[in-house]
């Protein structure tokens, strides 16, 4: 309990535009996967970026008594890792270099790099890429590129992993592989907050689901508590059925746009 991550009165946006105005999330604990869901422009990615310190934010992001918003980017990167949606094309690097750079980019210039190499190899092994360590990034599949991103995120061994749509644009097999790696990392004691688009996937893999709409929290609880017909109507303006499939997991079927237009 001492290590929980709490967010209090978080305000964030881009320039003069406020996207999130005063949002609080109670203790996210080690071992938990928290999924952020909601319609486009609900503020999911903004929230993630604010916690990561990538955009200006006010309020408190508290990790065991330390306000992460009040420390430097370099200091913060020891506690929090952020994984953007996808690795850009065109970087002429090998996999190992991409992961070493996550360590050495902020290290004092030309510091002892041998240990970095070893840590990077271990991180790649952890995500199941030990065969691809010396391959060029360009030769990897979409799923493997995403795994490189996860290796970059975990190589510093941060407490908190923030993942922006880790499974977007991946096929079923790759989604499954990425999510099992993420589950494993949670089981090792990481706190994981992931923006997810696919509600069924969020329901299947997360311990807690937070539904956002217009920068506010609509619902926060177990996937079954959050993903309900009423909440979906409110946030997405759709009439949807939420059903349990044979494995006991939730399935969402959107039937039609709902008549009422939510709260504008």
């Amino acid at each position: 309990m001492t290590e929980a991550l709490s967010i209090r009165g978080l305000r964030a946006g881009y320039g003069p535009r406020t996207v999130i105005g005063g949002l609080s999330i109670s203790g996210i604990e080690p071992g938990q996967i928290v999924s952020l869901v909601g319609p486009n422009a609900a503020g999911k990615s903004t929230l993630l970026r604010a916690i990561a310190g990538l955009i200006a934010a006010e309020g408190e992001v508290d990790l065991a008594g330390r306000n992460l918003l009040a420390i430097s980017q370099n200091e913060r990167s020891k506690f929090v890792a952020f994984m953007p949606q996808s690795l850009p094309q065109g970087a002429n690097l090998i996999v190992l270099e991409a992961v070493i750079s996550a360590l050495s980019a902020s290290a004092p210039a030309m510091s002892h790099e041998t240990s970095f190499g070893e840590r990077a190899v271990r991180a790649l092994n952890r995500v199941g890429l030990s065969e691809q360590t010396l391959e060029p990034l360009e030769r990897l599949s979409g799923g493997q590129r995403q795994l490189v991103g996860i290796a970059q995120a975990i190589v510093r061994n941060p407490r908190i992993l923030l993942l922006d749509e880790p499974t977007s644009a991946l096929d079923l097999r790759n989604q499954l592989e990425i999510m099992s790696v993420i589950r494993g990392l949670a089981d090792e004691g990481h706190m994981i907050v992931a923006v997810m688009h696919d509600l069924a996937l969020a329901a299947r893999w997360s311990d807690r689901t937070i539904l956002l709409h217009q920068g506010r929290i609509v619902a926060d609880g177990t996937p079954a508590e959050t993903i309900t017909t009423e909440n979906l109507a409110l946030a997405y303006q759709v009439e949807a059925r939420v059903e349990r499939c044979s494995g006991g997991f939730l399935q969402v079927i959107a039937d039609r746009p709902s008549a009422h237009k939510g709260r504008e």
Binding site: R49, A52, S77, A81, L96, N125, L134
Partner: protein, 352 residues
């Protein structure tokens, strides 16, 4: 799943082998550059044998008076200047391509060289100069100030408009056309004599080299390049996107601003003394990237060496194409650069 120590050690050993191969490539590039430099010393209207040249380099007093003048006062300054200009422009290009995330970025394509040309033009055509600048330095100082100023302008845009790499590139292109138009305006109002001088300046010329200018350029490189090298890992991280680099703890905006400052120093010292030289800053980093990849610990030195080699080779070609005539080097680099550039573009097409 736990990997044993031996397997890790094996992987790291293969990585070290790869780094060793890249180091070998750097040495090979160095050898190419030095060879081109030596051939550059041998090329010219009056014959100088390799043996004479070698002897002359290590014991200048053994040469005849004429040979001494040819080697040490005519060819050596131009040849050394070629190496240094190649290094400076290539490093500027490599930094720009990374921080602007654009393979077409270079001091030339983003208007810095044209800004220098405009500075030179107002010196040549209007006789305008900065106070307390000796007469024979007017043009160099003007070119320097405008090149430096134009890069600072890019920096200002980055700082105050919170500009992304893409809008910086667009601004650079706007600058390219603006300064080009201004240079043409100067040409239009110039006297016949000034026009000739200006056109000659914009073609780039190593003949203007002397030891003082070489000293300035060498000092600028020696003081700036170490900082370029120190930023290597940050630059490598930046290749994977702004946000990712930030999450690694890199202060991306600051990195971009400081890098543009280094670009300003490299470019303005280089073009101030030799005039407009295109394509080296664009092409040398591409060659380096093909040879050693984008680990910037290798990309930066490889770019510098490729730039030095290309400039020396261009200098040889500028003397060898028409016997007795030295073609302005800016023309030669463009002529070599264009086909190479097209090849790069089309190679990319095929792959995607």
């Amino acid at each position: 799943m736990q990997m044993d120590q031996q397997a890790i050690e094996q992987t790291l050993q293969s990585y070290r082998d790869l780094l060793r191969r890249r180091t070998a490539v750097l040495l090979l590039l160095l050898l190419c550059a030095l060879t081109a430099f030596f051939i550059d010393l041998l090329t010219g209207p009056s014959a100088l044998s390799p043996a004479q040249a070698l002897r002359g380099i290590f014991s200048p007093e053994s040469l005849s008076r004429t040979d001494y003048v040819i080697l040490w006062q005519v060819r050596m300054p131009a040849a050394v200047m070629a190496l240094l200009v190649g290094i400076a422009l290539a490093l500027a290009g490599a930094e720009m391509q990374t921080i602007l995330d654009n393979p077409l970025a270079s001091p030339f394509t983003l208007g810095v060289s044209h800004a220098a040309a405009f500075g030179a033009a107002i010196g040549i055509v209007l006789g305008a100069s900065f106070p307390a600048v000796p007469l024979n330095w007017t043009i160099s100082v003007n070119a320097f100030v405008f090149a430096f100023g134009s890069t600072l302008l890019l920096q200002l845009v980055a700082r105050h408009l919170g500009a992304s790499a893409q809008s910086l590139v667009l601004f650079g292109i706007a600058m390219f056309f603006t300064f080009e138009a201004l240079v043409k305006l100067m040409q239009f109002i110039a006297s016949e004599q000034a026009l000739q001088q200006l056109v000659f300046w914009t073609m780039g010329n190593l003949g203007r080299a002397d030891w003082t200018k070489i000293g300035y350029l060498a000092a600028a490189i020696a003081l700036t390049a170490p900082f370029t090298y120190r930023a290597s890992w940050k630059m490598t991280a930046l290749r994977m996107g702004d946000e990712r680099a930030k999450s690694f703890g890199v202060r991306v905006e600051r990195l971009r601003l400081i890098s543009l400052f280094r670009v300003a120093i490299f470019t303005s010292f280089a073009v101030a003394f030799v005039g407009t030289i295109g394509f080296i800053g664009l092409v040398a980093p591409h060659i380096a990237r093909l040879l050693v990849g984008e680990d910037h610990r290798f990309l930066f030195p490889a770019s510098a060496l490729a730039g030095a080699f290309l400039m020396s080779a261009a200098s040889v070609a500028s003397k060898a194409i028409l016997p007795g005539v030295i073609i302005p080097i800016g023309i030669v680099t463009a002529l070599i650069g264009v086909p190479f550039f097209m090849w790069l573009v089309f190679r990319r097409r095929y792959r995607s």
